[in-house]
């Protein structure tokens, strides 16, 4: 199994890239030229925290991508969800959408170890993901979530500021996506609440609440850390061989 997964991973490894040692302009640095991760939170013209920057999981750890509840949070799965999760773990994730070059979604990209770039304007936040070269939009222009939803891979996201915390509500995520690579399932009733806080220059804390009464007996919450990634750029990562999934066998 491991060998097959390794092969798959190699097939989609990005090319060696450019600008990977380009010093990020305008970021606070210590005397030795390194990024000062504990410098104050940057702010926009209107005084809100600015979440912009390039981020990754600390040490590129895949811990939360593999299991959102890796810290031991209780996940109150309904019996069908528990059975499906068990099956997905036993299958080594062979039916995971990403093995067929389909996008990750909100919670698994929050947990993803690979770099992501956040671009914040007054009206929206765009998140660019290195993996799968895809993106997600969060509207912060005051609009409400739509009522009549057509499910989409990234759902529909709106955010608003509560003090220095950006609270993002997402609904309409199509039920083909998995909450994490382990395979925590969800239904079309999923409502994700993300609370983003940038307590200093170098860190973002994402608090995720999963509310899906058709799959979980009550909402559950996890915390995921992001760390600022200086002096580099997203690589050109394209899922070029969606035929790999046919060769991904297990058990």
């Amino acid at each position: 199994m491991k060998n097959v997964v390794m092969t798959l991973a190699l097939a989609v490894t990005p090319l060696a890239a450019q600008w990977i040692n380009h010093p990020t302009p305008g970021i606070p640095r210590t005397k030795d030229g390194k990024v000062n991760l504990s410098a104050p939170t940057p702010r926009t013209r209107d005084g809100k925290p600015d979440l912009s920057g390039t981020w990754s999981a600390p040490g590129f750890s895949t811990k939360y991508l593999e299991n959102l509840a890796a810290d031991g949070v209780e996940v109150p799965m309904l019996p069908w969800a528990a059975a499906l999760y068990k099956e997905r773990l036993a299958d080594a994730g062979k039916d995971r959408p990403s093995t067929r070059c389909l996008p990750h979604s909100v919670t698994d990209f929050d947990a993803h170890h690979m770099p992501k770039k956040v671009l914040q304007t007054s009206g929206e936040i765009a998140m660019l993901f290195e993996s799968y070269h895809s993106f997600r939009e969060i509207f912060i222009d005051g609009r409400e979530l739509p009522k009549d939803l057509d499910p989409a891979w990234f759902g529909y996201s709106v955010g608003k500021w509560e003090g220095d915390t950006l609270v993002v509500n997402t609904v309409g995520i199509n039920a083909n996506t998995w909450l994490d690579d382990g395979g925590h399932p969800h239904t079309d009733a999923l409502h994700v609440t993300e609370r983003f806080r940038r307590p200093d220059f170098g860190h973002i804390e994402v608090q995720l609440t999963i509310d899906d009464p058709k799959a979980y007996s009550k909402p559950w919450t996890v915390k995921i850390p992001w760390e600022f990634l200086p002096d580099t750029e997203l690589l050109d990562w394209v899922c070029e061989n969606e035929k790999d999934a046919q060769h991904l066998v297990s058990k």
């Binding site: 450019q18 302009p25 389909l102 996008p103 070269h133 993106f135 989409a152 969606e242």
Partner: protein, 352 residues
């Protein structure tokens, strides 16, 4: 013919899902008294006084989307490249990036697609409905001299007065410049010049330099219209990419089934036909029919003359799902033709 219809069908299958916020009023844009966006309002500007290109844009590019070299002379394209284009046409475009769910690379800036531009002082991103993005750095960094080829290349921009100038290089050579299949090499360098002339209009000129393919640089000009009160729709290609199994046949299959039509009949078909009504399109489509001896040609929106072949005295294949001339009196020229498509027949009226 069948294959061509299947090819069109396949493209239709990758249409984006019906989405939300399709009629959500874009906040903060100037409106006329009746509440419609005032597309002629002045160009919006950022806090630092630069034109703000932010918005969802509908790129109007029926000609260059199909044939980026539409304005070149035959001698401007080397024989090997022309032969490659012919082969790609013969294969009904089955190796186009779209058929394999791969990024369009440089074609993102000239293809007839929606693009969302999000602008900050140091970075502009262009978002495509297929969920790929492009980054343009405005932080003063130069392009690297020997970049590792990448699908989206590398782009840097700067302001020349009110014009955003974007230089890009470092593309891999796996992408095509248009749907006909005009090739490029890794030496491709593009220079795009964007000007938002008012709220509703974005003008772009791009110069394509690729000395390994095209002897001299050439420039195409493409306009985009603001698409207010809507958002990008999500179109995930791999979701339904079973199309290739059905992508069979060759363009030349049409030759084998060709029916002989008298020259004098073909000559009557020649003329310029304009779509009536223009439907949802911003610019009505035009097809120019020319007859040369025993051969009939059609040129849809200036994409280039394409041989069309008769399956009956009035039905021809080779463009879209086919062209049918409406012959009421065989002695006179037809007043209309239909361009066929899986979504129906589209009427074009003769204007000359």
């Amino acid at each position: 013919m069948k294959a061509a219809v299947l090819a069109i069908l396949s493209l239709a299958l990758t249409d984006p899902v019906r989405a939300q916020w399709l009629n959500y009023p874009t906040p903060g844009i100037p409106r006329t008294a009746d509440g419609k966006p005032n597309l002629a309002a002045p160009t919006p500007r950022t806090a630092d006084g630069k034109p703000d290109l932010t918005g969802v844009w509908n790129r109007i590019s029926p000609k260059y989307d199909a044939n980026i070299t539409a304005d070149l002379k035959p001698g401007d394209i080397p024989p090997w490249a022309q032969a490659l284009v012919e082969k790609r046409k013969e294969d009904l475009g089955k190796d186009h990036m779209a058929a394999h769910c791969l990024p369009f690379g440089p074609e993102y800036s000239t293809a007839q697609r929606y693009v969302k531009i999000v602008q900050t002082p140091t970075l502009i991103v262009m978002l495509d409905e297929d969920l790929t993005y492009r980054q343009i750095f405005l932080d003063g960094r130069p392009l690297e001299s020997d970049p590792q080829p990448a699908w989206m290349g590398y782009s840097v921009g700067h302001w020349d007065g009110d014009t955003l100038v974007v230089d890009s290089a470092g593309f891999n050579d796996k992408t095509w410049l248009d749907t006909q299949g005009h090739p490029h090499s890794e030496a491709l360098h593009t220079t795009e010049r964007y000007r938002r002339t008012d709220l509703g209009h974005l003008e772009m000129e791009t110069t394509i330099q690729d000395p390994k393919v095209y002897a001299k640089p050439f420039t195409v000009a493409i306009s985009s219209l603001l698409a207010p009160d809507t958002e990008l729709l999500e179109a995930v290609c791999n979701e339904n990419n079973k199309d290739l199994d059905h992508w069979v046949g060759r363009a030349s299959d049409d030759e084998k089934s060709e029916v002989k039509v008298p020259r004098e009949t073909l000559a009557k078909y020649a003329g310029t036909y304009v779509e009536q009504p223009k439907l949802w399109r911003t610019v009505a489509r035009t097809i120019v029919i020319t007859a040369e001896g025993d051969a009939l040609f059609g040129d849809l929106d200036g994409r280039g003359k394409t041989r069309i072949r008769a399956t009956s005295a009035s039905n021809f294949v080779g463009i879209q799902g086919g062209v049918e001339f409406v012959v009421k009196d065989p002695k006179t020229a037809p007043t209309d033709l239909f361009v066929k498509h899986v979504s129906g027949n589209y009427r074009f009226a003769r204007t000359k």
